[in-house]
């Protein structure tokens, strides 16, 4: 377990900024329980400081602590996992709501088609990180927009508007590898 290096922090925050933008400061400065980021075996954990201090004495093998935001690849790239969805959904700037008919395809790992689109925040640019919610405001996952809001209006129903990146179904599909 160790804190992140400057480059790692930069990589992590650049990725997070794609989804939550300026709200990263809410992750750093919390009023209730100060949290910190720690790297353990290439995975980034967002964990309460008191728990982190306790975790230093876990012997021999610490499995996980707090919330796993994602992991660093061997070449230093960062990949967000679905486990951080709770925080992304809380602080996301751009959201996409999906119709009940579109929930299941998305949760099986498919991209979101125009036909499944319920609502989308105004002025969403193209290739923007978005959080996908059901019509009852339950976070389902996150992805990247394929088209901006204006272009999405003109699309035919079978066109892809949001590329799938992570969904709640991964908890079942990738049970072994998800921490």
């Amino acid at each position: 377990m160790r804190p992140l290096t400057e480059e790692e922090v930069k990589t992590l925050f650049e990725k997070l900024a794609k989804y939550i933008g300026r709200n990263i400061t809410h992750l750093i400065d919390r009023q209730d329980d100060p949290h910190c980021f720690r790297v353990h075996r290439d995975r980034v954990y967002y964990v309460s400081e008191s728990i982190m201090r306790k975790a230093t004495s876990v012997n021999p093998h610490l499995m996980s602590m707090g919330v796993c935001f994602g992991k660093f690849s061997k070449t230093g790239k960062f990949r967000l996992h679905v486990t951080c969805l709770e925080y992304l959904a809380q602080y996301a700037k751009y959201k996409v709501w999906v119709k009940p008919t579109g929930e299941m395809p998305f949760m099986y790992g498919n991209h979101i088609l125009k036909a499944h689109l319920g609502r989308i925040t105004e002025d969403t640019p193209e290739h923007q990180g978005v959080v996908i919610l059901s019509m009852s405001d339950v976070p389902l996952g996150f992805g990247v927009t394929a088209k901006s809001t204006q272009d999405a209006r003109k699309m035919e129903p079978t066109g892809i508007i949001v590329f799938h990146q992570a969904d709640v179904g991964e908890y079942l599909r990738n049970e072994d590898t998800l921490v």
Binding site: P3, E6, K10, I28, D29, F37, M52
Partner: protein, 242 residues
């Protein structure tokens, strides 16, 4: 100089622009034949000795002419330690002791130290008694004192060796050892002068693979100051959100 079978003709040869090439040739021819003839005369006039295998030989005198240097002048780089420089200055030579020494008692040559040594092992040792030098009684007995003195001398010698090593890295090595060390260093440089610092190169039989030491990465403390950590994070956020 018959000793080195050399003859020197130091008279000037007068050649100017007008003399023809053939004339120059003839002049030089004359001079050399005269010189060689003189040498032969001297050599054949030398005292003679007859040998069985090789016929009649002339006994050459000692050479009188000084030959020029075959090798370059030895530089003072060869003197690597303070003692070597001092010894050169004072003219102190190294005297090699002979292994064999003549033993009068047995009338044979015995070895200085070792199996068949000159010393009589059964006799009473020389240091059965050590006289006290000064009149006042010493604090230690002479044998303990002798051992302590030896230890002191050894320690002094060690520290002097270390000092010599600092002053000149080539001290303490014979020229052969110095060359070997230099060659080893050059070889190491050559092996690591590749794109992957010698890491994935095929090894030659007898050589072991180049040691690859990755620079040790330094991380902050795990339970370090939380506030300073948060400041760092905020700074990065500022940079990211620009």
């Amino acid at each position: 100089d018959p000793g080195s079978l050399a003859v020197f003709d130091t008279a000037a040869v007068h050649i100017n622009a007008t003399t023809k090439v053939s004339a120059i040739e003839s002049i030089l021819q004359e001079r050399t034949t005269a010189a060689v003839q003189a040498l032969f005369d001297v050599v054949f006039a030398l005292p003679v000795e007859a040998t069985d295998n090789n016929g009649v030989l002339a006994k050459l005198p000692k050479p009188t002419s000084k030959l020029p240097r075959a090798l370059p002048v030895p530089s003072s780089d060869q003197l690597t330690t303070r003692w070597e420089k001092f010894a050169k200055e004072k003219g102190i030579m190294k005297k090699k002791k002979q292994r064999r020494v003549f033993d009068e008692e047995s009338g044979k040559y015995k070895v200085r130290y070792g199996y068949d040594e000159k010393k009589d092992k059964d006799a009473v040792p020389e240091d059965w008694l050590i006289e006290v030098k000064n009149s006042r009684a010493p604090s230690k007995d002479a044998y303990t004192q002798r051992n302590a003195d030896k230890r002191e001398r050894v320690a002094k010698n060690k520290s002097q060796q270390r000092r010599n090593q600092l002053e000149n890295p080539r001290s303490g090595l014979t020229p052969k050892e110095a060359r070997a060390a230099h060659l080893k260093a050059q070889l190491k440089d050559a092996r690591t002068s590749t794109a992957s610092i010698g890491r994935f190169d095929k090894t030659v039989k007898g050589e072991d693979q180049v040691k690859f030491k990755r620079a040790k990465r330094k991380f902050d403390d795990v339970t370090g100051s939380a506030d300073s950590e948060r400041d760092k994070l905020r700074k990065v956020v500022g940079g990211v959100n620009k």
